[in-house]
Amino acid sequence: MNSKYPFFKYVTGDSKMHLMNSKTKILWFMMTFITILLVKDYLSIAIISLFLISLMLISKINFLTYLSNSICLFVFYLLIFSITFSITFNLNIAIMITLKVFLIIILFLILTFTTSLSEIAWGFECCFSKLKKINIPVSKISLRIAMDLKFISSMFEQSKMIKKSMAYRGISNKNIFKPLFIFSKVIPLSYRLSRKMEKIMRLRFYGNKKRTNYRENKITIFDKSLVVIPFIILYFVIWLGWC
């Protein structure tokens, strides 16, 4: 994977997806996530896939970027498929769950490619701001969610760096333990990086009660329709007896 394909990393742009209001974007994300979890038939999966494909096109980010990022987790899908199949012994369920995981990854990619970390944190904070009244540390939790997303993207960046530094030291590519070695180094490194980021955000006053948003975009018809579409799909899925 090269820098053209940033895993879970924000790609600058001015598409309608990029310019969505942070709060409605998180609402859209959560609604679509729930819808993917609830569907149980291939027709619904196909409708959601079409919905996500149209969003990928609207985001003006190369379709191949999405595809290469989602396909690079091939081993992960295979693992999910094997585990579900070995538990249920039902090929249909195993395929369905694997497809759902694939769609969730695509959903995460759309969110992270078109939304900066601070906007994600801000969006979550706005969505759950009512919970502050019952003393739930919403700001801290939102920041943690954003940082955990950073953790995933930094894992891929760190692995690239470790691969390079191993190549500089002349460590062979054919070493079968190499992936294992990289993996063991990447996890603590990325975790440290994401916790450091959290510290930086606090140093720069994140968590202040009176936060404003410079890029606070107005809620447009596009935003509203994106939040409503998962509801409509859910309506069809639940009330028309598709599941």
Partner: protein
């Protein structure tokens, strides 16, 4: 009147003492350069002032004691620029980066936009606003980090080798901008560096070695101790070295920092 005061600072990493009973005060509106070789304790001192390291001492910044309770209020008034800008970035575009601190402090989007326009043009980073700060060159990263600090309109600006990766021509321009902030906006500047060329712009030069102030005073006074500086591993700027030698031969009367004036004095 002092804007920053450190008294009886004691700090150690494990068993190694970095500072033992260290004292320093900085005058309001001044530009103080703290120079020293590697391991002198410069970055540790910056971290202590930023509240990133805890110590047993009495540090007063803007008449407030540096403690957990006052930390946020102090940070609002103090701009920090660290030697490694990657340790400072929290956003994915330069524009977001510049706006981030002010957004968190609840400034209106209109004010933020105005400040971004002003400071990005001043530091010539207006062409980088949509770039990812992590993808920039070292010098560009340092300019963005400096811009982030200036966005806060700080009363004190603390620079930790903040211009290290910027090329000579741009460094001169930035130092002049900082001098303007220092003189006209009365921003107190505390610059930590091992490059004494930058120190020419300051009013006071403090030489730090292994946590101890070795020399402290105005620019000519400090450079009269040239041998001490060489011994601790600091390189004396060429202009200083040349004008000191010319003074020995009675060609000039006092230290001359401007190379062009120095040339004209030689040819007089």
């Amino acid at each position: 009147m002092d804007i920053l005061n450190i008294s009886n600072l004691t700090f150690r990493y494990k068993n190694k003492f970095i500072f033992d009973n260290f004292n320093l005060s900085v005058e309001r509106g001044s530009w103080t350069t703290i120079a020293g070789p590697n391991g002198a304790g410069k970055t540790t001192l910056v971290k202590l002032l930023a509240g990133l390291e805890k110590s047993y001492s009495n540090i007063t910044i803007l008449d407030k004691t540096l403690n957990k309770k006052n930390l946020l209020n102090i940070r609002k008034e103090v701009g920090f620029v660290f030697d490694n800008p990657d340790n400072f970035f929290a956003c994915e575009t330069v524009l977001d980066e510049l706006a981030f601190s002010l957004e968190n402090l609840g400034e209106s989007p209109k004010t933020i936009k105005k400040k971004i326009d002003e400071i990005s043009k001043l530091l010539k980073i207006d062409g980088l606003l949509n770039e990812n700060p992590y993808d920039l060159s070292g010098g560009e990263k340092q300019k963005v980090a400096l811009a982030c600090a200036l966005m806060l309109e700080p009363r004190i600006l603390i620079l930790d080798d903040a211009l290290l990766m910027i090329d000579i021509n741009e460094k001169k321009q930035i130092l002049n901008i900082l001098k303007d902030y220092n003189k006209n906006k009365k921003v107190t500047i505390l610059s930590f560096t091992h490059n004494l060329d930058e120190a020419i712009y300051s009013d006071r030069l403090v030489i730090l070695n292994r946590g101890i102030i070795t020399i402290d005073g105005s620019f000519p006074k400090v450079f009269s101790e040239e041998m001490v500086m060489r011994k601790i591993g600091l390189e004396v700027p060429f202009e200083i070295e040349l004008s000191q030698k010319l003074r020995v031969y009675n060609i000039i009367d006092e230290l001359e920092l401007d190379p062009e004036r120095l040339v004209s004095l030689i040819w007089k």
